[in-house]
Symmetry: C2
Amino acid sequence: MRIAVDALGGDNAPREVVTGTIAAARKLPDDELVLVGRPGLIEPGSDLPQNVSLRPSGDAVGMDEEPSATLRAHPDASVAVAAEMVRDGEADALFSAGNTGATVAAALLRVGRLDGCRRPAIATVLPFPSPVLLLDAGATVSCRPQDLLNFAILGGVFARRYFGLDDEARIGLVNVGEEPGKGNDLAKEAYRLMDESGIRFVGNVEGRDIGRGVADVLVTDGFTGNIVLKTAEGVAREILLMVRSAVTSGALSKLAAGVLRPRLLGVRDQVDPENYGGSFLLGVRGSVVIGHGNAHARGIENALLGISRTGAGLSENLQEVLSAHRLRSSEGRPA
Amino acid sequence: MRIAVDALGGDNAPREVVTGTIAAARKLPDDELVLVGRPGLIEPGSDLPQNVSLRPSGDAVGMDEEPSATLRAHPDASVAVAAEMVRDGEADALFSAGNTGATVAAALLRVGRLDGCRRPAIATVLPFPSPVLLLDAGATVSCRPQDLLNFAILGGVFARRYFGLDDEARIGLVNVGEEPGKGNDLAKEAYRLMDESGIRFVGNVEGRDIGRGVADVLVTDGFTGNIVLKTAEGVAREILLMVRSAVTSGALSKLAAGVLRPRLLGVRDQVDPENYGGSFLLGVRGSVVIGHGNAHARGIENALLGISRTGAGLSENLQEVLSAHRLRSSEGRPA
């Protein structure tokens, strides 16, 4: 497939993005990677792999800029040019580690939504200890119940491809209790819709059970999902710092820590978001993938490998399943 | 002060509740503890401290029972009798480790709300790494902006007592970004109210910064708060399990683990909810405190010590500050 990479997006752009893209290109000889960015991004005479090319654009949307206004004022922003490549069929996928809101806005404005999908969702893998796909991680902070059902359908299709599941993905609803009838109005109505939809719905999942393998996909609104994701990442990081500080104080412990250090680093790697590629924006016409803003070359490379593995034909697949569900639910409705 | 203890509430009741209450009573010679439960709860001739007494009641509300219906059908349930003691001035505080919904319902139905407080909030200390008071942790899953302002005011007063702060507590709003204007409608409007209220408002706090010491109090609705709290507790537990499993595999590591074991246990203790007493239901007329359902004697004891330290005169204090805020905001309003 052909992936348009926003070379200017992210805290460590363009250097780490370019390095990560080149590393990914060497592992993906059958794919093409297009670095979108300012002309002169790459030194003339640089040793680029054959499957990496350049596409000129304006600057990136800054991390603190208001996305839609900036995109209107700077229609040649790097993420917008990358999105136009997807719209025009010049690329199958778009990747950016820049301003998340700008990537979402560029995708909505330039690429457009799937039929029957009012709002998109960001799907992110929460890696520990048992990987689970969480959506929406922040694209749509105010959701309707039907949005959550759509997220469940999209997330189920995506998770099956991403995790390579043999069976249909098990879908859970993030909620404040396990019993049906728990939660706010949105959660109660989303429960009802999901329960009646024919998806493989396993019911409500409480915060304490996130990542314990009770579901493959966890559905929630973008407000709750963003906070859950960042809380989980923050707590994981803080607990590991506490462990490190506990085991490296005192002489004897320093010795022991020498033995254990590689093992603790192993745990850290297991919870490090950089090892888990990017987050897919589901519900738009094409593969649109958001990298961590502070990703380094390794994170960029992992994200691009993930796109190559998962992204080919993704949005066609999602549209097909979404349309089949809509058809089924309209047929099931009393005349 | 006088504390009514629901002796029948919780997974390990009555044994662990009674044991924990007796242990607390020995450390609180100036307080009185009343065990509310079935007659015959304590063997005749048991060696009770002088400041522990008994009050007969019916059974507990079961963990899976619907709270309000059960309380209507069984008005002599242990938590209801304890709540009546608070209502009638026979006790200053109520503690229960039973069905949380039943404790909230008994408090609302029997004890009543503070003036100007439409809905109560559960205030819980998130202990790691820097303790912060989170509210609402699940009493009110559907909030209005004014509810969140009330939670901020109540939480600020409570946190100052509980943490022994010299200055006014710093209040943050849990949100999906730091900038004003982020979030869903509830968060946006709550931000505006809190910003204009005269409280010590430090702005939005993202999930990743929860527990990093940027605020003393974190305010959110009961849906988000419950999920954040349980996610944080769940992730902390899972990461520690991952660390333990990483350091105790292989012979050399077993040796090292022997050295490090006490240190890892130290971290576990630091994140163990049982070491942090109960959660206070703020917004009702009296101190109403909710224990962890699976608490053992140590957790019960810690909760009762926390009530004694924090609870005397708490609701009068809260009412005073809440009324002063209401007066100020109504004076500030154009005629």
